[in-house]
Symmetry: C2
Amino acid sequence: MAQKPSIPKGTRDFGQVEMARRNYIFDTIKGVFSLYGFQQIETPAMENIGTLMGKYGEEGDKLLFRIQNSGEKAALAPEKGLRYDLTVPFARYVVQHREEISFPFKRFQIQPVWRADRPQKGRYREFYQCDVDVIGSDSLIGELELIQIVEEVYRRLGINVCLHINNRKILAGIAEVIGAPDKMIDITVAIDKLDKIGVNAVNDELRERGLSDEAVAALQPILNLSGSTAEKLAALRTILASSEIGLKGVEEMEEVFGLIETTGVKLNIELDLCLARGLNYYTGAIFEVKALDAQIGSITGGGRYDNLTGIFGLPGVSGVGISFGADRIYDVLTELDLFPKELQSETQILFATFGNDELRYALRWVKALREAGITTEIFPEPTKMKKQMGYADSKHIPFVAIVGGDEMAQNKVMLKNMASGEQRLVSLEELLKALKS
Amino acid sequence: MAQKPSIPKGTRDFGQVEMARRNYIFDTIKGVFSLYGFQQIETPAMENIGTLMGKYGEEGDKLLFRIQNSGEKAALAPEKGLRYDLTVPFARYVVQHREEISFPFKRFQIQPVWRADRPQKGRYREFYQCDVDVIGSDSLIGELELIQIVEEVYRRLGINVCLHINNRKILAGIAEVIGAPDKMIDITVAIDKLDKIGVNAVNDELRERGLSDEAVAALQPILNLSGSTAEKLAALRTILASSEIGLKGVEEMEEVFGLIETTGVKLNIELDLCLARGLNYYTGAIFEVKALDAQIGSITGGGRYDNLTGIFGLPGVSGVGISFGADRIYDVLTELDLFPKELQSETQILFATFGNDELRYALRWVKALREAGITTEIFPEPTKMKKQMGYADSKHIPFVAIVGGDEMAQNKVMLKNMASGEQRLVSLEELLKALKS
């Protein structure tokens, strides 16, 4: 009868300590999203398979988890699939509910997604995404607010970051001026890997993707642009002079950097022309955030898209959004030891008793403490004191109220500070005062 | 290309207003769970199919959603299924992690579950459960704390409820004394329906399930027991005198009611011998909570189980738990109009501007307000004022700061109270003061 219990590969259980830490991350992110007037929505875990298929490329289609009712015959093609990201369900949501929505629509969404990827270190088959988007406006205030949100989230979490920013229109302009206007996607996919595989491998890939040697050569000075943001943008104005879309991209970046200056954003921001991001629905600004003190790659990313909802029948709606990678943020906070210490235990005090009478006596104290908003536990049996104290230790509970016959006779408890070992006899009033401070 | 977007039947999208209300329910429940020292865990949405199969009866097996990797051939039997409830994954979790857990283990879990039920009003294929359990102790303090949690959750939500309580050992004793000891489950399944189908139909069902006419006749006085709790328990002591397990059940109920009195629980509590609850793993106290002012059935339920983890190889671990039905609580709060009004909008103020210069000017005010913790939005384009005001209206934003050239020249904004229509010119300092109060 007994089975050795386990969970599917690539999935995880989260215990209390992990949950307290994960909630700390989610609550911090939600707090900042809310401060900016973004509001939460949720969509179902399962979407109709037609909503998902073809949205993530051939590779993505293969990574979809499909769902069968138990009643269905196995031969029947499954009609539903698990959410693969939050972006496509969001696009579906906007189109489906467009009559109820006030635009610009500022929404955030924090939910798990599922991908049948090969599990490996740091890559899971179930993981949370934290997406924030504003849709229905092409104002660059959208870009500004997302940058401010990045600044505030990481300030609250205590992580030093650098935000890399680029613009797809600049990339399109580059493709134009090097004489390969139809190769914008090939170019962006290849140069997105510059950090990982180096310039030679990128150039090889560009040639494999059909770029001429001349085009590859023409691209090199752009890949190597340096100097301040203003200098880079000025150089681009010259390089892209013949490309209307390229100049539009430069203009957008100038405006975004102007807004950043106006509002005194203090975040490290780098105009990074090698940043391309893999997803092809981006059409304007693109972002990626890296932690400066941890080697972990991008912990937040996103960009502007001009036609996300078109595939569901609502064309011409512009939006911009970013996604915070909760798992990677967790790893960074762990590596840098930045989780607040008080997350170890929510319980402030445990009542430990020597007998059944004491247990009943203690219940009234416990009640009074909880009514005062103090997170309180009582060990449910008057078992060996060592066991009760061990429970407090293992849960990192800072105080124990010990109740024996003497304490009960005096209408007091013995309050033990678990860190210092100090003990003192206190009344309920004194106990409330001690715990509230 | 365009597809008419929809979601799978029995699933739901939650917009911002619904999410604010749902979060209010979840946060209230979590707040009370935490106050009692229960800590959150989460388990994966998918479990190995072996973990789920056979745990919910034949009917349940049919209602499992099974998961296929897209790569898998359809003929291949799926190895994974979506979580059907939180109880079986919790049992699996306890066994799998028993070396890391400090017992008694007080955990709560708030996650969606999936059932391939026929969708109907109030019944969904995806819905949240909010479970709280203490496992690893047979102390009736567990029952007491769950009752106190029920009291506090519904006090905070403002819902008048009655908690129905019974004990499976009493039901076993009844089966024994009416001469049908092997029919305990049949009896409980049948009398669980007393409220719904009436006494005659229950008696018919009992006979169909193999009870003799004598046994059915012997059961009637028990179904009709009345009087105070003390009177009912006293009568049961006599009726169940020959049943060891029955008397044990009476004793447990006496102890629970004693603890309730000791701690001054004010909740309506009714000893209800017709309460049986369908799930067969309960072995002691069982609970059900009904809203007094709404016709909706049970909104919370649970009980004690002595061998939940046995099926995963860890026998003899006693626990007690309850589950709050968030969807039904939502319906009750809606019906009785009990949601707090301030859930309508988190945003306190919108900045509306007459031009691009004003928009840039306003950005600095917006920043100062957010730094003061005030949820603030700015309409991202200086479009028609009517459109900007309409946005504030549709999001129920209580204040709008209107910025035109005059305001900007005086370093002020025009603050409009959207409820009263009143407008006044204010400085940043005055605005901060007005919004903080």
